[in-house]
């Protein structure tokens, strides 16, 4: 596969290390009343969609950026690639 790195352009997916669903960015609040339940869902339950899937890849053999890749799990077609750090900020993980 080819991942079109937002900074570096097309790179062989073999340079990357896969982690999983991009929802792993949304780590729950440790002080929430239902923190235990939310951490269980965060850590263990997945949509595992057959179709568009937002997922985390680490450019280990490249610039060490974590990326959020939007990929169709039935065709492997990649429609969007973002820097995970930007996504994390956009999703309100800034302090």
């Amino acid at each position: 596969m080819i991942i079109n790195h937002p900074i570096l352009g097309p790179r062989d997916a073999a340079e990357f290390v896969y982690k999983g669903d991009a929802s792993l960015i949304n780590r729950p609040d440790w002080q929430a009343d239902d923190a235990a339940e939310r951490f269980h869902e965060y850590g263990y339950l997945r949509d595992n969609s057959a179709g568009l899937h937002r997922e985390l890849w680490f450019h280990e053999q490249g610039d060490r950026s974590w990326l959020v890749v939007t990929r169709d799990t039935t065709t492997h077609e990649i429609t969007k690639v973002e820097l995970a750090r930007d996504v994390a900020r956009a999703e309100g993980r800034s302090r």
Binding site: I2, D12, L24, A84, A88, R93
Partner: protein
């Protein structure tokens, strides 16, 4: 000179004659021959035996779709079983042998199977060989295995090298026939970066196998000139002997270039083959088409082959495939073969299934006729023809060409699970469904069969691709070529035929397919799996469609309703060596050497692989005959005086930034915010699921600067994890990370005299006394008169100890200096084993304890997991299952009888209980002989271990025959109070 069946003309180089042997008999052939063409030229047509019935077989094709003529090429360590004689390029000294026969190809005892064929029908083995039960493994299966298989693989290592490489292009063109050449010409002249690849060693596809002209020259000449033109273009890379084996995601194609297979052996330093990973923006499949046979009684005898193959042997290789030949066809193309053969002076008769077959005076044509049987034991001698009138007539022929029409080579279009579509007009499957992104199809592969249409569609595909690439096409003029219409009347099999071969290599007959249908194996996938149709080394290139046709027939369906099995990579079988490339033997993975490696080699150290690293395991001294002697000495001497160990392999990560401390608070379960500058602290790192990920130390060199250490094995995953936390979870912490593992040579200097030794090399202005540099202190210093260094007062051994780090290039010199200066203390270097012994004596957890399922609680470090802050893993570590009352706890164990061993991997049992899983109490993680205590000791996890100190329990290892009593003790065997550390 090179065989009795040689004709005039052809594309062989008669001036270069090659000697070769087949089954020990010597023959001669020409440069440009394949093994098959050379053997046919020499009158040899029996080249193999079939898989199941061991029927005599000769070549059926002239290409990579060959099911029958497969041989063991070369000999010794270079032997290549199952090699297609039809594609094996002839070279001087070639050695080939037939396979899957005994004692000889002509007299094959296993041919007895043919007589028992009524018993050996499709799936027969599922119904029998069950009685008595024990006989399967003992008798039946070994028998079957010996009979099965094809060629024999050598036991010797493959002596050749293989390379891998990466190619980039705008346009990859697969196949260099008329369509591929037209496409390459168009794209090349437009300035696109083009790769043109063809599996053959001569480019041109059917142009070099057929007669017929382009403009005013014959096809082969035009092909040759065009290839030369392309080779002259700097932006075009022409690769012959290069098979595109697979279409993978996003325009990546796998391609195998056979660099040296046409040589006796590869030139020095050169690979046998190269696996190219081709990155293409666009690709054109111009792989042509494969002629298909017609299924009739005894259609598998040597001498019966595809009509187009006969044509190729005659035109390209100047080989006559018989003295009297018949052509059995259902379409006009069969007549081209007849015409070519007749023009070469071969007596030819055409049997055309069509009542309205074209008539000519050049040869006799039997219209509306079919071949209903054949004779000849080791080769075709005669055929039986049923005429339109219904009467039968016998023809004495030694060659029979069969033409059932053509199948486009759609294989690569299916590699991403796209399914081809049925084309009524061609009576064939053409590319359809969703093609691999960026791939288009041209020429015969797309169903454009005439040379004219091949050229046109090739150019059109190139123009379209150039458009996508934003390049302007120049549309070079293409020569005028034949544009014969497709005239084919589907005719798949002669009805009533029983022992009529569909898949010739796997011996699947028409009867087998009917039986599969009868037993409800009707889905095309069931048919394939039950009969093994299309599962042979040719992947059914010549058999799948006929199989579908017969299934459709018995099911009363149309072929498309029955469906099609999709083709999978590779297009043709690929040597496993080339898929591994250089990654084999000692170079399977890189070797990482520590800074003291060369010095340790001089000391005669014994090394051990730890991940990629080579680490000194122990340093044998003269007179030491057993490794234990060396290890015991190293341990005792270190604890008595001082020892030095290279611990460079531990991961080191530089953590800087104004939020560095807060960041470490997140990734470590214990707190780091309040760690003073100049101090080091042990850190316990959890995965988010609450299980221990790694442990190490973090040294605070400045307010905004830490150096973190990881275990050797986890250096990479921990760094990756930290980047995840930094970029994805806390994107606005001001913290920067970089690995410095390789930058510093780091040595542990341990033992009561370690300070004295270091004081001799640390520059005087630095006070490393106990007061000036207490336990867990760290700092940047200089050594040996001004070399920058880092000093940490940490201890894995439990002794007064330091770790000192200098720039890696000075590591070797520093080790030599430490040994020199340490002489007065009888300093010893110690290796991984002694390190292990000392950490077990001290009760420090390591890899064996941190096995990915242990919690802080198991380690007795539950209290370290701070509840006062948010850190990775703290929440999920609170789950009840990880905090049960009888949870495993790390304890020490020592044998009740001092002579007994403690065995890592042994399980622990309460005394008096049965020895079974239900009563399992835990297991030993690490064990060693403690030279200080004089007996074996171990660390292990024991249920409620912390409350069972002093209990005598059973240590059992049925696997290694151990069962004796051990006492549960504190894991800290040596200096439990830790006084030595602080001395």
């Amino acid at each position: 000179m090179t065989g009795k069946n040689r004709l005039n003309g052809g594309m062989i180089d008669r001036s270069t004659s090659f000697g070769f042997t087949f089954d020990g008999v010597s023959y001669r052939g020409c440069a440009g021959d394949t093994l098959a063409s050379a053997l046919l030229a020499n009158g040899v047509r029996l080249m193999g035996r079939s898989f199941k019935y061991h029927r005599p077989r000769g070549p059926m094709t002239a290409g990579s779709e060959e099911p029958n003529a497969i041989v063991e090429l070369r000999s010794g360590a270079r032997k290549e079983p199952n090699t297609r004689a039809t594609t094996a390029e002839l070279f001087d000294g070639l050695v080939a042998n037939s396979q899957n026969r005994w004692p000889s190809l002509k007299w094959d005892a296993m041919a007895i199977n043919d007589l028992f064929s009524p018993f050996l029908t499709a799936g027969f083995y599922y119904k029998t060989f069950m009685w008595p039960k024990a006989f399967w493994e003992k008798l039946y299966e070994p028998m079957i295995r010996r009979a099965a298989g094809l060629g024999t693989l050598s036991h010797d290592p493959d002596p050749d090298n293989y390379d891998k490489g990466y190619l980039h292009c705008d346009l990859l063109i697969i196949g260099a026939g008329p369509a591929g050449l037209a496409a390459a010409l168009t794209a090349g002249e437009a300035g696109a970066r083009v790769i043109l690849a063809d599996e053959d060693f001569v480019l041109g596809g059917r142009l070099i196998a057929d007669t017929g002209t382009l403009a005013d020259e014959d096809g082969a000449t035009w092909a040759g000139k065009t290839v030369a033109r392309l080779q002259a273009m700097p932006n075009v890379r022409v690769l012959s002997r290069s098979t595109v084996i697979g279409a993978f995601d996003h325009g990546i194609y796998g391609m195998v270039e056979r660099v040296s297979d046409h040589l006796l052996e590869p030139a020095p330093g050169k690979p046998r083959q190269i696996l190219w990973r081709v990155y293409s923006k666009r690709a054109i499949l111009a792989a042509g088409a494969t002629e298909r046979p017609i299924v009739f009684e005894n259609n598998d005898r040597p001498g019966i082959m595809l009509a187009s193959a006969m044509r190729a042997y005659a035109n390209r290789w100047a080989v006559s495939t018989g003295s009297a030949i018949a052509v059995f066809t259902n379409n006009d193309d069969g007549h081209r073969t007849a015409a070519d053969l007749v023009s070469k002076g071969v007596k030819t008769t055409v049997i055309d299934t069509r009542p309205d077959a074209p008539e000519t005076t050049d040869y006799e044509t039997l219209s509306g006729a079919t071949v209903t049987n054949t004779q000849g034991r080791l080769g075709l001698a005669a055929i039986e023809v049923t005429l339109s009138s219904g009467t039968t007539r016998s023809l004495t022929v030694d060659g029979l060409g069969v033409s059932g029409g053509w199948n486009p080579n759609v294989h690569l279009t299916c590699h991403q699970r796209g399914r081809p579509q049925w084309d009524e007009n061609l009576a064939a499957f053409v590319p359809g469904g969703t093609l691999p992104s960026g791939l288009s199809v041209a020429g015969a592969a797309s169903g454009a069969f005439s040379t004219h249409r091949a050229l046109q569609t090739g150019q059109a595909a190139a123009v379209e691709a150039l458009g996508d690439l934003g390049l302007k096409a120049s549309n070079p003029d293409l020569p005028k070529a034949e544009d014969a219409p497709i005239r084919v009347t589907p005719f798949w099999h002669v009805t009533g035929a029983k022992r009529a071969w569909v898949d010739q290599q796997n011996d699947v007959t028409a009867k087998d397919i009917k039986l599969a249908h009868q037993e409800n194996f009707r889905s095309v996938e069931h048919l394939k799996r039950y009969t093994t149709l299309g599962m042979a080394t040719d992947q059914g290139k010549t058999s799948n469609i006929a199989g579908l046709a017969i299934m459709a027939d018995v099911a009363g369906k149309q072929i498309p309703e029955v469906g099609t099995t999709i083709f999978r990579p590779p297009y043709t079988p690929v040597a496993m060596g080339v898929l591994a490339g250089r990654s084999r033997d000692k170079t399977f993975r890189p070797v990482r050497k520590t800074p003291s490696h060369y010095w340790a080699e001089e000391q005669g150290a014994v090394f051990v692989e730890v991940g990629m690293w080579m680490r000194a395991q122990w340093f044998p001294q003269p007179g030491e005959t057993h490794w234990r002697q060396s290890v015991d000495r190293e341990v005792l001497q270190t604890r008595k005086s001082v020892g030095v160990c290279d611990c460079t392999t531990l991961g080191k990560i530089d953590v800087q930034g104004t939020d560095a401390a807060e960041f470490l608070n997140k990734v470590y379960a214990n707190g780091f915010a309040k760690l003073p500058v100049g101090k080091t602290r042990y850190g316990l790192m959890l995965r988010e699921d609450g299980i221990v990920m790694d442990d190490g130390t973090a040294a605070r060199l400045a307010e905004d600067h830490f150096v973190v250490t990881t275990t050797t094995a986890n250096a990479v995953p921990v760094y990756r994890h930290m980047e995840f936390v930094r970029q994805c979870l806390f994107p606005d912490l001001d913290v920067q990370l970089i690995s410095t593992t390789e930058a510093w040579a780091q040595y542990a200097v341990a033992g009561p005299n370690s300070r004295k030794l270091l004081q001799k090399i640390v520059d005087p202005e630095f006070d490393i006394s106990n007061e000036g540099f207490p336990f867990m202190a760290c700092g940047e210093i200089t050594v040996c008169g001004g070399l920058r260094a880092r000093l940490f007062r940490i201890s894995f051994s439990g002794e007064l100890a330091f770790e000192i780090a200098v720039p890696t290039r000075y590591g070797d010199a520093l080790m030599r200096r430490l040994m020199e200066e340490g002489k007065e203390f009888d300093v010893v270097p110690y290796g991984l084993e002694a390190l292990g012994v000392m950490r077990i004596e001290k009760g420090h957890a390591a890899g064996n304890e941190l096995n990915g399922t242990t919690t802080a609680n198991n380690l007795g470090m539950g209290r370290m997991v701070s509840k006062a802050k948010d850190s990775i893993g703290s929440k999920l570590s609170e789950r009840p299952g990880l905090n049960e009352a009888d949870a495993l706890k790390l304890v020490g164990l020592k044998p009740v009888n001092p002579d007994d061993k403690v065995v890592a991997g042994a399980h622990l049992m309460t005394k008096g209980t049965p020895v079974d899983a239900a009563h399992d109490q835990g297991y030993i993680t690490s064990a060693c002989f403690s030279p200080n205590l004089g007996f074996h000791i171990g660390l292990g996890y024991l249920k409620s271990g912390d409350t069972r100190i002093g209990e005598i329990i059973r240590l059992v290892s049925p696997l290694t025959g151990v069962d004796h009593e051990v006492e549960v003790v504190s894991a800290h065997f040596v200096d439990p109070e830790g006084e030595r550390l602080r001395a």
